[in-house]
């Protein structure tokens, strides 16, 4: 489990991370979301002991990262896939990391094979594509077979096959009972991969809930209605709820369930050709939420 409690990072006047408290549980993929500059990377760096917190604590498996006797066996992290010495081979890059934690040489070959780099493991990493470096970074994260995995933007630079691969890898790791924390800007991928969401904005926690609850809470359900009597239905519904005209015979209704709309139309003797609740995406919910957050911030500032 990753536990962050009152975590704060201050750079001079600027609060990069502001009193953040959350826990990441095992057995599910947790998505770490937030606009650029929200403090995601700084938070992860403090969890990994790379940056010192101004105040608050971050623990992994009950103790600070730096207190683990062999950290790679406790936490595997992918932070920056570009961070490889171009003249060093993939094998030696991972071998040095393994050596630092007393992980045997055989395991190095094993993880390189697991991420599909065994054929190029003796090549200098300078010749690697971004996708290959991403895989190399994941190999390093898997090295100690750790119960906690942290991936910062693991999908950057991956081709569609690579994206599917990493999605199934993370689902598998979570199914094995590991803690999996992943940040990404790709909302559709996040929606397919994560079970739980932690959302930050301007260094503060905005949401910590399941994917389903998050989408439900931050979006209004819409129902698409197709009817030849669009005008009549619209004037009937518009008294109570929000109705948008999509085109001549199509309306988008917000604030009523499909069944309620159907009942009202039947009572009014109107003919319906289609009545379907629209799937709301994480992307939409996220945009809605961050828009709210920005407005909230603006309101607070004018209040002062």
């Amino acid at each position: 489990m990753i536990e962050v409690c009152g975590l704060t990072k201050r750079y001079g006047e600027v609060l990069a991370v502001d009193d953040l408290t959350f826990a990441v549980r095992p057995g599910e993929v947790t998505g770490f979301l937030g606009p650029n500059g929200a403090g995601k990377s700084t938070t992860l760096r403090m969890v990994l002991g790379l940056d010192t917190a101004s105040s608050g604590t971050a623990t992994v498996g009950g103790r600070p990262y730096v207190a683990h006797p062999a950290p790679l066996k406790a936490v595997g992290a992918l932070l920056d896939p570009g961070a490889v010495l171009p003249s060093r081979t993939a094998y030696h890059h991972v071998l040095a990391l393994a050596a630092g934690n007393g992980i045997p040489r055989s395991r190095v070959n094993e993880v390189l094979a697991e991420v599909g780099l065994e054929k190029v493991s003796r090549r200098r990493t300078g010749t690697f594509s971004l996708g290959m470096r991403q895989r190399l970074g994941i190999a390093a994260a898997l090295l100690g077979d750790p119960p906690v995995l942290i991936f910062d933007e693991p999908l950057n630079g991956l081709d569609p096959e690579g994206i599917v691969w990493i999605r199934s890898l993370m689902r598998k790791m979570a199914a094995e009972g590991r803690v999996v924390l992943m940040s990404s800007h790709l909302m559709t991928e996040m929606e397919r991969t994560a079970d739980h969401l932690i959302v930050v904005g301007r260094g503060k926690l905005i949401a910590d809930m399941t994917m389903r609850d998050f989408i439900a809470a931050h979006s209004q359900r819409e129902v698409l209605v197709r009817t030849p009597q669009a005008d009549a239905l619209r004037s009937l519904l518009a008294l109570a709820v929000d109705v948008r005209v999509e085109n001549d015979d199509t309306l988008i209704v917000t604030g009523l369930e499909a069944a309620e709309i159907g009942a009202l139309a039947a009572a009014g003797g109107m003919e319906l050709h289609e009545l379907s609740p629209r799937q709301v995406s994480l992307e939409k919910a996220f945009m809605q939420l961050t828009r709210d957050a920005v407005e909230y911030q603006a309101d607070k500032e004018t209040d002062r």
Binding site: M1, P26, R45, L48, G49, L50, D51, T52, V60, G61, G62, R63, Y65, V66, H68, P69, A70, P71, L72, K73, A74, V75, A77, L79, D80, G82, A83, V84, L85, P86, S87, R88, T89, H92, H93, L95, A96, L97, A99, G100, N101, G102, S106, N109, E110, E114, A140, G144, D145, P146, P147, V148, E176, G177, R178, V179
Partner: protein, 293 residues
């Protein structure tokens, strides 16, 4: 034999699946046995040092330079010796003549020492290094130990090669020269190696504080060559003081066989250099432990 090797991949795949299957039974966060030690970190840093491409190039290039300069210096000094005034002949220094290469070698080893850490900041591998070993004093100490482990023997080889070539050329020209059996020869060769290892540590300490390869190299040139070149131009007492106590100049006394009465003895000079490197390393440790990676 070939039978067993063909079966290996299958076995390791099975072992992997088994290890993954067992994982959930372990309580979260309870790392399996096997504490990472200083020894592991030393091993990791050694792998990094020997797989850094610049290591080999820097060392081979410097060795060639030391030998070449010893030959050139020896032949010119040897042919000019007969024309020197008796006073200059009395202060002729065959050891220093063959060891002039150390002037550049100290920069090269300082650069190597600097690269051990600045290359990590340059490409941000410092992140994976410190997530692998978050114990920062251990990381820096390991870097220092493997650096000395390489720089000291290589430095001795450089000094020895310069000495042998330089003395050979001097003897061929009929000028005064030293044999390996002379006490001063051993002090010059081993001391020269120690000095170069100290130069490496100096670079490591500088690189840790500065974090940029370019700025580290520039500083090395300034401290080790520019000051030396301009010290004689400094006004009276200041110039004398710098010539006597400036650490790289004082340390350089270890590769001289003529004791200038105005300068420190080889032992004292090397001690000043070592003390200065130790102080700078202490600063480097403090900074490295405190600063965000």
């Amino acid at each position: 034999m070939s039978h067993t090797t063909t079966r290996l991949p299958a076995q390791s795949a099975k072992a992997r699946r088994r290890s993954l299957a067992l994982r959930p039974r372990r309580g979260p966060g309870r790392a399996p046995g096997g504490k990472a030690t200083l020894w592991h970190c030393l091993h990791a840093e050694w792998i990094k040092l020997r797989t850094m491409r610049s290591t080999l190039y820097v060392l081979l290039g410097t060795l060639a330079f030391c030998i070449g300069l010893a030959a050139l210096n020896g032949s010119s000094a040897g042919s000019e010796f007969a024309d020197l005034s008796p006073a200059d002949q009395a202060t002729f220094d065959p050891l220093a003549t063959s060891m002039q290469g150390y002037l550049l070698a100290q920069i090269a080893l300082g650069l190597l020492g600097g690269l051990v850490i600045t290359s990590e900041y340059g490409v941000r591998t410092i992140v994976s290094t410190l997530t692998s070993v978050p114990h920062r004093a251990r990381v820096l100490a390991s870097k220092a130990v493997v650096l000395v482990g390489l720089a000291l023997p290589v430095g001795i080889v450089m000094s020895l090669a310069g000495f042998l070539v330089g003395q050979g050329v001097l003897s061929g020209a009929g000028a005064p020269h030293l044999a390996l059996s002379d006490g001063v020869a051993l002090r010059g060769i081993v001391g020269g190696g120690v000095y170069l290892a100290l130069a490496g540590l100096f670079g490591l300490a500088l690189g840790t504080v500065i974090r940029s390869t370019t700025a580290t190299v520039t500083t090395l040139f300034g401290v080790m060559l520019i000051v030396q070149a301009f010290a004689p131009a400094l006004p009276g007492r200041v110039g004398d003081w710098v010539l006597k106590y400036w650490p790289p100049i004082a340390g350089g006394q270890v590769v001289t066989s003529y004791q200038d009465p105005a300068l420190l003895s080889p032992g004292a000079g090397l001690g000043i250099m070592a003390g200065c490197v130790a102080a700078l390393l202490a600063v480097a440790f403090a900074v490295f432990r405190k600063r965000d990676a």
